[in-house]
C-alpha cells in the first residue's frame, strides 16, 4: 500500500516537471491557445503529489484492533490499548500462542476466558487489575513461558501458590509489584536460564 503512495508522489514530481517543460515549449512557439494543456498537467501533477500526504494524514485512521496475526504458524493476538471492551471472544481462540492484553480494564474475571489456551506461551498482563486470585487460572496453562505482570496487584503469596510451580515459566516481568526480592530470587535460582524484569 505504502509503495503505491510512494510511486504516486514521484509520479506527481514527474508530471509537474513535464508541465513546466510543456509550458516553456508552448510559450517559445507562441501557441498561447494551447496553454490549457500544460496547465491541466500541472494541476494533475500537484494533486498526485499531495495525495499521499492527504491519505496518510487525513483519510487513514489507525486500526485499533483486535490485532490477530499468524506468525510462523502461531496465533498472536494483541489487544494492548485497543478500543474494544469485552474479552469474551478469547474463549473462541483456544489455539492462541501469544496474547497481549496489558490493559487497565483486564481483571481476574477476564482471565477466565483463557482457561482453554493450552498452547499459550506468552502472556502480557502489564498494568492490569490482576490479583493473586487471577493467577489461579494460569496454573492450568502449562505451556506458559513468558509472563508479564508489571504494576499488578499480585503478592508473594500468589507468586508462591501459583507461579512457583509452573513448569516451563522462563521469563517474568514483576516491576512495580509487591513481590519481594527474596521470593523472586528463589524462583530465579531454582532453574537456570530464568530471567526477571524488576
Amino acid at each position: 500500500m505504502f509503495q503505491i503512495l510512494e510511486y504516486l508522489f514521484f509520479a506527481g514530481v514527474l508530471l509537474i516537471a513535464l508541465a513546466v517543460v510543456l509550458f516553456l515549449v508552448t510559450l517559445v512557439r507562441k501557441r498561447f491557445k494551447r496553454l490549457w494543456i500544460p496547465s491541466f498537467i500541472l494541476c494533475v501533477g500537484i494533486v498526485t503529489l499531495i495525495s499521499p500526504a492527504i491519505y496518510t494524514r487525513i483519510l487513514l485512521s489507525v486500526d485499533l484492533g483486535p490485532r490477530e496475526r499468524m506468525v510462523d504458524g502461531e496465533v498472536h493476538i494483541s489487544l494492548n490499548g485497543w478500543d474494544g471492551n469485552s474479552y469474551a471472544f478469547l474463549q473462541t481462540r483456544p489455539e492462541t500462542v501469544v496474547l497481549q492484553m496489558a490493559n487497565a480494564d483486564v481483571d481476574d474475571q477476564a482471565l477466565q476466558y483463557l482457561r482453554h489456551m493450552k498452547n499459550l506461551r506468552e502472556l502480557d498482563l502489564n498494568d492490569s487489575k490482576v490479583t493473586d486470585q487471577g493467577l489461579k487460572v494460569l496454573v492450568e496453562l502449562e505451556s506458559l513461558e513468558v509472563l508479564r505482570l508489571r504494576s499488578t496487584l499480585i503478592t508473594d503469596q500468589g507468586f508462591r501458590d501459583f507461579l512457583m510451580t509452573l513448569p516451563n515459566l522462563k521469563n517474568l516481568d514483576i516491576r512495580e509489584t509487591s513481590v519481594s526480592n527474596e521470593v523472586a530470587n528463589e524462583w530465579k535460582n531454582a532453574k537456570s536460564g530464568r530471567r526477571i524484569l524488576r
Binding site: F2, T56, P66, V71, G81
Partner: protein, 291 residues
C-alpha cells in the same frame, strides 16, 4: 580523539550525568570506524571488548567488560557516497509509520495496537536483529550486567527501537543515550516508551541540529512524536536556523528578501549541518563538564 579521554568509565550506580553521556558519545563516534580499528579503539579508549556486526546498511558495535554491555549503533554513512545514499534512501526517506508483520510486529504491538513506527528504521533493525540479539543474549546469559544502548543520528533511533525489543526478550536495559536522533514513531509509541523506560532514555539534542526535528516535514509521513527525556546542549542564545527563518519572515514585511537577510539565513543553515555531527556533540559535552 585525544589521549586525555583514555580511561573513561561507566558507573551504573550513579544517576545519568555527563560522564555517562561522554562515555557513550565516544562509543557512538568509534562506531563509525571499521571493524579492525574499532575493536582496537573500543579497547583502548573505553575498556570494552567490542565486535562489529554489519548487515546490509545497518552496523552496530557490541562491547562488553566485567561491568557493562554496551551496544553502539552507527548512524547514516555520509550522504555523498553511493552507500550513504542507499542508506538514506532505505532508512530515512521511507518514513511511513507502520506496524510491521511477523515476530517484530508482535514485539512492537506490545506498545499498543495503535502504535506506529518509522518503516525504514524498523526494517533496518529487523536486518540486524538476529545476530545482534544472539550476541547480546549470550553475553547477558553469561553474566547479567547493566546494558547500555547508544547511537548517533539514525543510530540513535535504532538504539531506541532495539531497547524495546530487548525488553520484550527480557534483557533488562539500564540506559539509552542518543545524540541528534530523529523521531521513531507516533504519539502512542512515544507514550509506551515513556512507560517502559522511565528515566532511562536520554536524548541529547543540539539547539542548532535539525535532524531531531525530522521527519515532521516529510510529505509522505503521518505525525511523529519524540519520547522523553530531551537534553538540549549548545548555547541558548545561539540562533538556530529555524529561529532565523522566523526572524527573516518578520524582516521581510516589505515583501523583499534582501541579500543581507538571505546571506544570514544561509550561514545559519550551514551552521546547522555541522551541529549534527557526533564531534560537535562530544565537544558540547566537554564544555558542559568544564562549567
Amino acid at each position: 580523539m585525544s589521549d586525555s579521554v583514555v580511561g573513561l568509565k561507566l558507573d551504573a550506580n550513579a544517576n545519568h550525568d555527563e560522564s555517562h553521556a561522554t562515555y557513550l558519545g565516544r562509543a557512538c563516534e568509534l562506531a563509525y570506524l571499521d571493524a579492525k580499528q574499532g575493536s582496537i579503539e573500543f579497547r583502548k579508549q573505553l575498556g570494552l571488548d567490542a565486535e562489529l556486526i554489519s548487515i546490509s546498511n545497518t552496523q552496530a558495535y557490541i562491547g562488553e567488560n566485567d561491568g557493562a554491555i554496551v551496544v553502539a549503533f552507527r548512524g547514516s554513512e555520509s550522504f555523498t557516497t553511493i552507500d550513504g545514499f542507499k542508506d538514506w534512501l532505505l532508512t530515512n526517506a521511507r518514513n511511513f509509520l507502520i506496524l510491521p508483520e511477523g515476530r517484530i510486529g508482535t514485539d512492537f504491538a506490545a506498545a499498543g495496537v495503535g502504535a506506529r513506527f518509522h518503516s525504514g528504521f524498523m526494517s533496518a533493525l529487523n536486518d540486524i536483529w538476529d545476530p545482534l540479539f544472539a550476541k547480546v543474549d549470550n553475553a547477558y546469559s553469561e553474566c547479567e550486567r547493566p546494558v547500555w544502548l547508544t547511537g548517533h543520528s539514525l543510530g540513535g533511533a535504532l538504539a531506541l527501537l532495539c531497547a524495546w525489543r530487548l525488553h520484550q526478550h527480557f534483557v533488562a536495559v539500564h540506559q539509552i543515550c542518543t545524540f541528534g536522533a530523529p523521531m521513531i514513531g507516533n504519539d502512542i509509541a512515544a507514550e509506551a516508551f515513556k512507560r517502559e523506560f522511565p528515566s532511562k532514555i536520554y536524548r541529547y539534542v543540539d539547539i542548532g541540529d535539525i535532524v531531531p526535528k525530522l521527519p515532521t516535514i516529510s510529505l509522505f509521513s503521518n505525525s511523529y512524536a519524540h519520547c522523553d527525556t530531551e537534553i538540549v546542549v549548545g548555547e541558548a542564545t545561539e540562533k538556530s536556523a529555524l529561529n532565523c527563518l522566523k526572524e527573516t519572515a518578520a524582516q521581510t514585511v516589505d515583501g523583499a528578501i534582501n541579500s543581507l537577510v538571505a546571506n544570514s539565513l544561509w550561514s545559519e543553515v550551514k551552521k546547522g549541518m555541522p551541529s549534527h555531527l557526533m564531534g560537535n556533540y562530544l565537544s558540547r559535552l566537554t564544555s558542559k563538564r568544564r562549567q
